[in-house]
């Protein structure tokens, strides 16, 4: 099933959910509204012709120029009906949700795919996106008392942490800024 068909299925079921579509790229995706994310994701997981049962990754993206943050969801279908057969067919799909940079809130998908739990904690930790209705939204990689979200483009590296100096003679300026 090509991404266009999947996009049309979503369009037919949720006419107002889609904000933008990028279908002829290396990684086709559909950008949907944050408020319809959970129902679209549940549809993608449960629809008999789609059955995206494996959430591969949630990548948080900083769109500094537009003052937005985004989350990219990559999913895949793993057939489980004829268990034991060699599986060589699959389909994959990707969603994107864009949220406001100053108050970034996206509904959690932990209730749809349990794998989303840790991925969302990571996105919260490193990018500062808050996931509403997440069962346990805490930092996962950085210490609990860490300040700021390192993957944001305007993140300033702290000069000390609990008395440990963190500057180097090489400087820590990112060549992009």
């Amino acid at each position: 099933m090509i991404p266009e068909d999947i996009c049309n299925l979503i369009k037919a079921r949720f006419p107002d959910a889609i904000e933008a579509t990028v279908l002829d790229a290396a990684r086709p995706y559909v950008q949907i509204k944050a408020e319809s994310l959970v129902e679209v994701a549940t549809f993608l997981r449960d629809d008999p012709s789609l059955r995206f049962n494996l959430l591969r990754s949630i990548s948080s993206i900083d769109l500094l120029a537009d003052n937005k943050l985004a989350c990219a969801y990559d999913m895949m279908h793993v057939p489980t009906e004829n268990r034991g057969d060699l599986l060589t067919t699959t389909r994959s799909f990707a969603l994107r949700v864009v949220t406001d940079r100053d108050d970034p809130v996206i509904p959690s998908l932990a209730g749809v795919w349990r794998a989303a739990d840790w991925h969302e904690r990571e996105a919260f930790d490193l990018m500062g996106i808050r996931f509403s209705d997440h069962p346990d939204l805490r930092r996962i990689l950085c210490p609990d008392d860490w300040v700021g979200h390192p993957l944001r483009k305007d993140y300033e590296f702290p000069l000390e942490y609990h008395g440990i100096p963190a500057t180097t003679e090489y400087g820590l300026t990112n060549p992009r800024h």
Partner: protein, 399 residues
């Protein structure tokens, strides 16, 4: 004193003054397993809520090795980022190099020469064997068997020698680069590799005799930590952990990369005990299945390598003009089959030579997420059995 004999003990009933009530009562206790613990395979801390020997709840705490490798990816060019990828999963450096290289190649439309693809497959499979040897050896160690560890590391040492001959490094190779491989194979390397395969293949039988079918080992791992296929997929488990649940799923077959479609090999899966030499008592998806899938995969890796070595032809090993290549304003998400599962890289370009975003989807990170679900109402001694069978590398969990 002389009056106290064994005959007098029947008078000592439970309501006697000398018997203290409550000796055997237990209470809930929070126990830190790690961050420094031999069977956490790295710096992993698991907080266990225990009641006597029972573990009621286990919660992994990660991040002790966090270096924010993804941030580094946003400040260096892709070929400079290759050395950071093999410091994520330092047991399988080649496979990590390969994943990132393929992601950049797909993004920029770089065509990899035929010989480079063959060398990549040889190195990836060799590293898969080396990685599985570490997994099997240390798993035996967790279960109290020391000898398999020394045997596994003896063979792994030979693989590291082969790697050293090809690229100079024994652990962090940075050998597979964007557009091909870094160096051509030295003279006589192919023969040495074939010699190793001839030596190694019979050793797998030894591992089976020594550890796989060892009665104590089977008792410790069979029916322990059973994961169903549905749970595995819901939690995003991939690799041997998913195949052990009976799903014949491998990206080398499903979405072939670097010419895997040319090779003839099987995908082993876990199955119930009693047939095909699998010991009685084994259940699909338990710790023993996850362990044994790795043993079977090593045989398949040898098969793939023999074919690749035979088809190795002279030719260029690197695509032209890949250093300093401009990344188009586009994005890719590429996954390959790492020894531990599906390793994915999401790379976003913005027209410059430096990526705007690099995100690594580590199989260890996703596989470890199921711990708190599986380590519930089990015996304390089963916790190392479950963690070890998932075969996580903490360098990649924390990135």
């Amino acid at each position: 004193m002389a009056e106290t004999t064994f005959e007098s003990t029947p008078d000592l009933l439970l309501d006697h003054d000398r018997v203290e009530q409550g000796d055997l009562q237990t209470e809930e206790l929070l126990v830190n397993m790690g961050p420094q613990h031999p069977s956490t395979h790295g710096v992993l801390r698991i907080v266990l809520r225990t009641d006597g020997e029972m573990v009621l709840e286990a919660e992994p705490h990660i991040g002790y090795l966090h270096r924010c490798a993804e941030k580094i990816g946003e400040s260096v060019q892709p070929y400079q980022y290759i050395p950071y990828t093999d410091r994520m999963d330092y047991i399988a450096g080649m496979n990590n190099n390969q994943a990132f290289a393929i992601a950049i190649e797909r993004l920029c439309g770089v065509e990899v020469p035929e010989r480079a693809k063959r060398i990549r497959v040889i190195m990836a499979e060799l590293n898969r064997i080396a990685s599985h040897l570490v997994a099997l050896g240390t798993y035996g160690l967790d279960m109290g068997a020391f000898t398999p560890f020394t045997w596994c590391f003896r063979e792994r040492e030979m693989i590291l020698d082969l790697f050293e001959a090809a690229c100079g490094a024994r652990l962090t190779y940075s050998y597979i680069t964007v557009g091909g491989v870094h160096d051509d194979l030295p003279d006589g390397w192919v023969e040495r590799c074939e010699e190793f395969l001839d030596f190694f293949e019979p050793k797998i039988v030894d591992y089976n005799n020594l550890l796989s079918f060892n009665h104590i080992f089977v008792k410790r791992t069979a029916t322990v930590g059973v994961i169903t296929a549905e749970d595995a997929l819901a939690f995003g488990l991939t690799g041997a952990a998913l195949r052990a649940t009976g799903v014949r799923w491998d990206l080398r077959k499903v979405t072939p990369y670097d010419g895997y479609e040319d090779y003839d090999f099987d995908i082993p899966i876990g199955q119930d005990g009693g047939i095909d030499g699998v010991p009685r008592g084994v259940v699909t998806g338990d710790c023993w299945s996850r362990y044994y899938v790795r043993i079977l995969e090593m045989t398949q890796s040898v098969r793939i390598m023999r074919q690749a070595l035979k088809r190795l032809e002279e030719g260029p090993i690197e695509a032209k003009k890949v250093k300093g290549i401009k990344l188009p304003a586009d994005e890719v998400y590429v996954e390959i089959e790492n020894p531990r599962g599906q390793l994915g890289f999401y790379v976003q370009g913005d027209g410059s030579a430096i990526p705007a975003r690099v995100k690594a989807r580590g199989p260890s990170f996703c596989n470890l997420a199921i711990t708190s679900h599986t380590c519930r109402d089990i015996l304390l001694a089963d916790v190392p059995a479950i963690i070890g069978s998932l075969d996580v590398v903490l360098g990649e969990v924390d990135r």
